[in-house]
């Protein structure tokens, strides 16, 4: 086999490994304290707190659910969004929150992909502005496998 073929092959492999490694770095599993898999939870918004609720339960792959953020006190929230990731790159699963009539904020119609490997462990990153201060909170969400 010609040497230039080997060299070119090594270059291609190196590019693929570097590219794959760079993408994996983006999707490294974050450390989280809040787990919404089984129960709703409470978020720290800096000067305030808010309850985070999932309906309906249990959340399942390819089944729509809503994520509702209910502030415990009067707080001005804007630009709320949530991004879902898992260890393997699953594309942009980003949703925006809308203000609801009861003073809460809700991201409706969230549908998360079904991982071909059977992985159900997702991470959510909620970002926004609370009383003019940026907030970012991460939470874990393990989906429930649908009944056969």
């Amino acid at each position: 086999m010609r040497k230039w073929q080997t060299a070119l092959g090594m270059v291609v492999v190196a590019l693929l490994v570097i590219g794959g490694f760079a993408v994996r770095l983006r999707t490294t599993s974050p450390t989280v304290r809040l787990d919404l898999s089984q129960h709703n939870g409470t978020l720290d918004l800096g000067n305030s707190r808010a309850d985070l609720e999932i309906t309906p339960r249990p959340p399942q792959p390819l089944q729509a659910f809503a994520l509702r953020l209910r502030p415990a006190s009067q707080v001005e929230l804007r630009d709320l969004r949530v991004a879902f990731t898992m260890r393997m790159d699953m594309g942009p699963n980003n949703y925006t929150f809308e203000a609801d009539t009861d003073g809460s904020y809700v991201a409706r119609g969230i549908v998360l992909p079904k991982c071909g490997s059977g992985n159900l462990d997702w991470f959510g990153t909620l970002t926004g502005v609370a009383d003019k201060l940026p907030v970012e909170t991460r939470f874990a969400l393990t989906l429930t496998k649908p009944a056969p």
Binding site: M1, Q5, T6, L8, G9, M10, V12, V13, L15, L16, G19, G20, A22, V23, R24, R26, T27, L62, Q63, A64, R81, M86, M88, D89, M90, G91, P92, N93, N94, Y95, T96, E98, A107, R108, G109, I110, V111, P113, K114, C115, G116, S117, G118
Partner: protein
């Protein structure tokens, strides 16, 4: 509400996902396509033609799914039907990979694989006759494999709420996934197929991933 994904976003999704996702999940199919439809020692142009046909087949399937997803405007019904097809496609694909690898290994590692190749030889031949006869049709069939990244693209297409936008978006997504997989096939051609030991390792990899697909179809 799902954040809208524009056409560039679909392409980037495929391009990045190709490196972070497809290389891990679709590698055995790329190796299989190269070995089955491009004879050993064939020049780069033949390999490129075969692999391009495979990717074109995938993209045609993706376009159809994107068209349906965008038109439906709601993923739930589509997902239910698609998820039903997925495990069947997964099982068939896994079986093809396992049997092809066993048959091919029969010539490369006689002591280990001769018995397996004999046992599976006839079954493999039968399956090969039933399997799509060219790379394009194989790609079109494999486009139905359950894939998290494809689901993400379809969810985004659904959010677009428009059939043709969904279809074009999925075409761009499929085109985006191709460079990483074409790179893999190029590396396979340049480094692996001309070297017996590496080629055997590649076939063992195809066999192992085929078993994994069979297992995933079983537990799904």
């Amino acid at each position: 509400m799902h954040e809208p994904v524009d056409f560039v976003g679909f392409f980037i999704l495929g391009l990045v996902g190709g490196l972070g996702h497809c290389l891990g999940m679709c590698a055995p199919f790329v190796l299989y396509i190269g070995r089955r439809f491009a004879p050993h020692g064939s020049v780069g142009a033949t390999q490129l033609k075969v692999q391009s046909a495979y990717h074109l087949g995938r993209i045609v399937t993706y376009a159809g799914l994107g068209l349906v997803a965008g038109s439906a405007g709601q993923l739930l019904d589509l997902a239910g039907d698609f998820a039903g097809v997925g495990p069947v496609a997964q099982a068939v694909a896994g079986l093809v990979l396992v049997l092809y690898a066993l048959g091919a290994l029969g010539g490369g590692v006689p002591a280990v694989a001769r018995l397996g190749a004999r046992l599976f030889g006839k079954l493999s031949q039968t399956l090969q006759r039933q399997a799509p006869r060219n790379a394009f049709l194989t790609g079109a069939f494999l486009g139905f494999l359950p894939c998290g990244l494809l689901y993400a693209a379809l969810i985004a297409a659904t959010a677009a709420g428009n059939g043709w936008r969904g279809g074009v978006g999925l075409i761009l997504f499929g085109v985006g996934t191709a460079p990483a997989l074409l790179g893999l096939s190029l590396a396979d051609t340049l480094l692996v197929r001309g070297r017996r030991v590496l080629n055997t390792i590649g076939l063992v990899f195809v066999f192992a991933l085929g078993c994994r697909y069979l297992w995933l179809a079983w537990v799904d």
